[in-house]
């Protein structure tokens, strides 16, 4: 497990960017004759009984500065929920999560999030407007903003589309806008929730290389949620494999292959197969 060092609430060199300790997250739902209904409301005279859906049972993980962590698991295992807790959209039912030594309460531009759907890009703003909004909200001046936006657009290779509205762009380009929008603020932590899940394989591979390039160029911490085993092994240097719901850590796989990684190399395939076995089997080898 990735437990290293003692609990230290002051953020300094050597301590972790993110500390997740015994986090449990459950949702209050209504259960109707054995069927779970995800709803906070209860209709009058309904036979539904209040129940609890445990998304994450107990989760402990530390993430260091500059790490690229992939949260890998079957769908519904609570990995997205954990990411939403880190982003500040949800609060854990018990346990605590700290970011740079401070408890997380609410969303913060230092913990930028890239959403699963490319619809998260604001359709009423141009590419430039979308990317420039973050710095604008941070109170950056017009000139500095323009520079930062131009630099980021170059980084995600969207030059020539600055004035385009999102409806004219493809899914892959939109996701690049979403990534650019998140990184333009230079967040300490970049959270990515299956950002390439809806794209075709070729575009996905291309964007994965983009993410690696961005990660290497601006040296930030990335936590990346995915259910694609190859994607996790290709990108991350630490793959956290989840069990099925309720989510728990099954194993943390360190990947020390240098970038760019060769998908056909023996080591890569070995690690991939290892992760596949972890996810598929209830009891992995040994």
């Amino acid at each position: 497990m990735a437990m290293r060092g003692e609990t230290d609430n002051s953020f300094g060199p050597g301590s972790h960017v993110v500390e997740i300790k015994d986090v449990k997250k459950s949702f209050y739902v209504y259960v109707d004759e054995g069927q779970t209904v995800l709803s906070e409301k209860r209709r009058w005279f309904s036979r539904k009984k209040p129940g609890e859906l445990v998304a994450i049972k107990s989760f402990t993980l530390d993430v260091d500065h500059g790490e690229f962590v992939a949260l890998l698991g079957p769908s519904g295992c609570g990995k997205s929920t954990l990411l939403r807790i880190l982003a500040g959209f949800e609060t854990p039912t018990s346990g605590f999560v700290t970011f740079k030594g401070n408890a997380i309460n609410g969303p913060d531009p230092q913990r930028a999030m890239v959403f699963q759907s490319e619809r998260a890009v604001f359709p009423w703003l141009t590419v430039e407007g979308n990317i420039g909004l973050g710095p604008k909200l941070q109170g950056m001046g017009k000139k500095a903003r323009k520079e930062a936006v131009a630099k980021t657009i170059e980084l995600v290779e969207l030059k020539g589309f600055e004035r385009a509205y999102p409806k004219t762009l493809s899914g892959g380009m939109l996701q690049r806008v979403a990534v650019a929008r998140a990184i333009v603020n230079h967040p300490e932590l970049l959270l990515m929730d299956e950002p390439f899940g809806a794209l075709d394989a070729q575009t996905r591979n291309h964007l994965q290389d983009h993410v690696v390039k961005i990660w290497q160029s601006i040296e930030q911490t990335i936590i990346f949620v995915t259910h694609d085993i190859e994607e996790a092994v290709y990108l991350a240097n630490k793959v956290v494999v989840f069990t099925a719901r309720p989510g728990e850590i099954k194993e943390v796989v360190s990947i020390n292959l240098p970038h760019p990684r060769d998908r056909t190399s023996e080591e890569f395939i070995g690690l991939r197969n290892h992760c596949t076995r972890l996810i598929r089997d209830k009891h992995p080898e040994g």
Binding site: A87, G88, F89, G106, P107, D108, P109, R111, A112, M113, F115, S117, R119, A120, V121, F122, P123, W124, L125, L133, G134, L137, Q138, Y165, P166, K167, R181, A182, N185
Partner: protein, 330 residues
């Protein structure tokens, strides 16, 4: 300045001009009639009762002229297809045909010309009213009323819709009241509007406001409620405050829906305007029609209807063009 900004500035200027500069007294019509002299009725208004077909325009020439214009238009649409929009040509063709048939049935005395005044008579009548300055007064009186009430409707409908969509408790209390009011047709409020607001402009403001307010309110509510959660979370993760969520996400994403509500509201306001002017005022297109009806001046009645039609189409076209520009991103 971008095209959109120019368009918006122009619209604001026109609307502001109409609401402020041309705001004459509510009884502007009577003043004008008093100035004009000539034979007057008990209300001190000039009496005009000539219904001569073809006094200035020969019906035969008129029909031939319209027919030639139609043929030319069709030829032009075939030859210069790029420059002449085909749907427009087709629309004008069907209107032209109706005008020709209408003129002919009266010319051949198939129907009584008082019951159906022919286009030529209507044109002459309108020309006469324009020359004497009556028509302008009525048009301006109507527009002024319309724009004032219309802006009142926007100024109340959009903020209220925003509050109802965002604040559950507020909506629970206020929404039922508006729903109760909404199902009553605005003209049914007329008697009380006059009792409460007196004679003159205020009751018609109230009626027009009622007509324009509800489409604006409802569209604002549904537009704001349709804001996607992912957009709200996106701006939060970019460092947006609650105000940023309102101003930078909810309003822009709801804007196309709100604008459609404004366009529909304007149309209904225009309908309510004419209804409201049938009583309690002394100028305006609705009043002009009502007054002409009392004198059995059917060409003026029809002329008033034609003017209302023209303005209705004109404003609708402007609103549609503006809408297209505003929702360019969709």
């Amino acid at each position: 300045m971008s095209f959109r900004a120019k368009l918006l500035a122009l619209a604001v200027l026109i609307f502001a001009g109409l609401t402020i500069n041309f705001s004459g007294p509510a009884f502007a019509g009577q003043e004008a009639f008093e100035k004009s002299g000539g034979p007057v009725d008990t209300w001190n208004r000039p009496i005009e009762k000539e219904f001569v077909v073809g006094k200035d325009i020969d019906p035969v020439h008129f029909v031939i002229g319209v027919a030639i214009a139609m043929v030319l238009l069709l030829v032009a649409s075939n030859t210069f297809a790029k420059f002449v929009p085909v749907p427009l040509v087709r629309a004008l063709t069907s209107v032209g045909l109706i005008v020709i048939v209408w003129e002919m049935v009266v010319y051949y005395k198939l129907v009584n010309q008082v019951l159906l005044p022919p286009p030529t008579t209507v044109i002459i009548k309108l020309q006469g009213h324009w020359a004497k300055g009556y028509l302008q007064i009525h048009i301006l009186a109507s527009l002024k009323r319309l724009f004032f009430a219309f802006f009142l409707a926007i100024a109340t409908g959009v903020p209220l819709g925003f509050l109802i969509a965002n604040f559950r408790k507020f909506s629970d209390y206020v929404d039922p009241l508006f729903n109760l009011m909404r199902v009553v047709p605005p003209p049914a409020w007329l008697p009380f509007a006059i009792l409460w607001f007196g004679i003159g402009n205020p009751p018609s403001y109230f009626i027009i406001w009622l007509g324009a307010f509800f489409p604006i309110l409802l569209n604002t509510i549904s537009g704001i409620k349709d804001t996607q959660q992912i957009h709200i979370e996106s701006i939060q993760t970019l460092g947006g405050s609650r105000m940023d969520v309102y101003a930078r996400v909810m309003i822009p994403s709801a804007f196309p829906t709100i604008f459609t509500g404004i366009r529909i509201g304007f149309g209904i306001g225009w309908i309510c305007l004419v209804t409201a002017e049938l009583v309690a005022v002394d100028a305006g297109l609705g009043w002009m029609i009502e007054d002409a009806r009392n004198l059995l001046d059917t060409p003026t009645v029809l002329g008033g209807m034609v003017v209302i039609m023209m303005f209705g189409i004109f404003f609708d076209t402007i609103f549609r063009a503006a809408e297209k520009e505003v929702v360019k991103w969709q």
